[in-house]
Amino acid sequence: MEALLEEHEKLCRKGNLSKSVEDVQKTIDLLVKARDSIAASTYLMLFSLGPVGKELLTYAHCHLQDQNSASVTLAKLQNPVKQSFEAVNSDLKDVYKGLGNYSKALDKKFKDKPLPTTDYDALSSHPALINRAIAMHLLREGQFSVASTFLTDATNNPPRPVISSSTPNPHANIEVDLGIDSLKSESLRKQFANMYHILHELKNQKNLLPAIAWAREKSDALETRGSNLEFELSKLQFVWLFTGGSNPNDARSLYLGQQQALGYARREFAHFQGRYLREIQQLSGAMAFCPNLAQSPYRRIFHNDDAWEDLANVFTREFCSLLGLSADSPLYIATTAGAIALPTLLKLQTIMKEKRTEWTTQHELPVSTAFYSSLQKGPLIFPGGNTSSARVSLSLDLRLPSVERTDDRRESTNDDALRARRCAGIVSEIEQRVTI
């Protein structure tokens, strides 16, 4: 990369047009000077005309002289102008050379990195599906205005499927119904707008109430999923009130907050008693340490800066899961995975070409692209399984879900570590096993 950067710098420095522009100006200057001198002598002659009697003679005389000097000036001008143009051309030659060198540097950089060929392109025949994936991606990323522009664009210019022999389309019949259903996208937009509203309140305003209201509404579904979200939200609300709400440093609001927290606990915690008795006991036990919580064993519950971020993540995951969607954008995960797997696939393609074999496109890749997602993200995998084989004892369904991870997350102390861990989830433990 450095070589390329250097070559480009050279190009910027030397291979630009500024010098040739200067040289064109020089040529102009030459011509201007010649014009001025010819014009000047003409004007001089006209203004210096004496009495009318002399006029004719002088005129003829001067005119002759002037004409002489003009042609001399012009004759003298030929070579300098020619040279000046040559200078411009040689400036251009430098630019040309610079471009050529940079071209070479690019070629060298990408010599062993050919653009992946699209001989096999199973996606071109499904533009509607891709558009749907993109629309959903934009919505879930909260880019509502881009999403609505996109939906307008896509509705006005429906995509043309490119169907070729190498792009089988076994599901052509469903393609028709799977365009971007405007009604559905509208409801999805509302859902995600709601999600971002709740997240915004939670993260930026430290206002848990919208999240709590949502969780209460989905209480049953969350409980079937074994999610602690509803309780965790209420617990954080309690903690927030107890530590003084929005004014934690003001003694009076601290006092008031503790009263409010107590009231909140009495009002809300009753229906959590069955599942979370132990946690509730902990919270009430903490009150005994009230003036000195920071040094108490309950410090982790009451002074946890990550709690909000963590809970926001759990909320996002639960929210998406209830919609039947994965928490991270699949489009993002898939393209990232694709970029990582591409070198291996490309190698495979080359070998296939050399040996003139093909693999059956609908089935399994003959090479491990070295992916498995860790337990928290993805499936457990058994070789040899396929869609049609019934699940007997050893079903494919071995993945046990990641159980709530808020507990072990408390250990992490800063945002970076947390985010890193989240990324690690996406590309987690990529195994590079080159089997060819």
Binding site: C12, R35, Y96, L115, H137, A334, T369, L398, S402
Partner: protein, 401 residues
């Protein structure tokens, strides 16, 4: 047989497969820019020198001063025009260099990220996704969406809105049956087209000819053919001959060779030919890069259970605490159907697997942990997939052979 390397190391060098067009395009534009300058200079060079020479000769032959001054004025005027053009192009050149620089820097950033698990890689990869999306949107002709996305994400310098939008404008004009815009484009890019087989321009002229014939302007059609088509007889002899034959066949002919020429689908073919030529000229891949990345990614992540008829724990959001798998998620599920599965030579199984009476297998610890979480009494377990509750005594240990 398999050397196992569990690694999250980021190999930036091989990671750049998708990024060649990122640097190629501004370079091709810079070359086009340069060729245009060269063309202008060449022309003015020739004209001004010969004008200067003839002025000098005229002056020698006795042309009076005002006339000489006038023709000098004329030359100055032309050169000033040249300078202005060059200054504009110089400005464009600067912008292109700047864009190239930004892009090289962007790729350079990748070299400084040590691991795929790094937060920075996450950010970089998100920028890449947005780049690929903008590229895809532009290729679909969704210029407004592309612009909005690029603006919102602040990646205008990493994408090529103008190039693609111009390409789309010309493509649309062909679909509207107008050859004007495309011919103008050909003229503008002629200096660069030499290296390519310039079939596009010939086909455009042929189309104009066909339209003249369609409107029964036979004389004009003949003139047009003489002017634009016969010169290509060397390369496209068959087509030129057929064009000549066309004069004898009216638009409603049933002779296949000729009815094909009258066909409306020729306009679509022209539009496609233009896009292909355009992309080739600017070293752009023929298909969106998003397709390449996505199909590789879908294959890499897809497992047989993603499209299984049998309920999978990940597909059944209401019964598990897991997040939905990316391929099972609505966005990509249908899209992934046509792609091959990932190849896995090794099983990843949870510790201490146990089987429930219904035949489903789970890791013991997590099964118990989850059952406790959903508030079951000790001694009961719940199948996360089907939500059926069993007594813990009925679970059996599984031995994998």
């Amino acid at each position: 047989m398999t050397a196992e390397l569990t690694t999250t190391k980021l190999n930036a060098e091989s990671h750049l497969l998708l990024d060649q067009p990122l640097l190629r395009l501004p370079h091709e534009l810079a070359r086009k820019n340069f060729k245009t300058v060269q063309k202008h200079v060449e022309r003015e060079n020739k004209d001004v020198l010969s004008a200067l020479k003839s002025t000098a000769n005229a002056s020698l032959a006795g042309q009076d001063a005002p006339k000489t001054v006038a023709s000098l004025e004329n030359m100055i005027h032309r050169l000033q025009g040249l300078k202005r053009k060059m200054e504009t192009l110089h400005g464009e050149e600067k912008a292109l260099h700047q864009a190239s620089r930004k892009r090289i820097q962007h790729l350079q950033d990748l070299y400084e990220i040590p691991s795929l698990a790094d937060v920075k890689y996450d950010e970089w990869s998100r920028v890449r996704l947005n780049r690929l999306l903008v590229d895809y949107l532009l290729r679909c002709g969704y210029g407004e969406s592309a612009k909005a996305l690029a603006r919102e994400k602040g990646i205008e310098e990493l994408v090529d809105l103008e190039v693609f939008m111009q390409c789309h404008r010309v493509e649309q004009s062909l679909r509207r049956r107008s050859t004007q815009e495309c011919l103008a484009w050909c003229a503008e890019h002629r200096p660069m087209m030499k290296k390519l087989d310039n079939r596009l321009e010939f086909e455009l002229r042929l189309q104009q000819y066909i339209e003249l014939r369609r409107n029964r302007q036979l004389v004009e059609a003949r003139q047009h053919a003489q002017k634009y088509l016969t010169q290509h007889a060397g390369t496209y002899l068959e087509e030129v001959n057929r064009a000549a034959g066309l004069l004898a066949y009216p638009p409603d002919t049933h002779v296949r060779e000729y009815s094909k020429l009258y066909s409306d689908s020729r306009w679509d073919d022209l539009a496609k030919l233009f896009v292909t030529t355009h992309h080739e000229l600017f070293s752009l891949p023929p298909r969106p890069l998003l397709h390449i990345a996505l199909s590789a990614g879908l294959s890499a992540l897809k497992t047989p259970s993603c499209h299984s008829k049998h309920a999978s724990s990940t597909a059944n959001a209401s019964s598990t605490t897991t997040s939905v798998c990316p391929i099972c998620s609505t966005e990509l599920n249908d899209l992934a159907r046509n792609l091959p599965y990932a190849h896995h030579t090794k099983s990843y199984v949870e510790n201490d697997p146990v089987v429930l009476p219904n035949g489903r297998v789970y890791g013991r610890d997590r099964l118990l942990e989850m059952s406790e979480k959903v508030g079951l009494d000790a001694g009961q377990v719940k199948d996360p997939t089907t939500s059926i509750i069993y007594p813990a005594s009925e679970i059996r240990k599984v031995y994998i052979s």
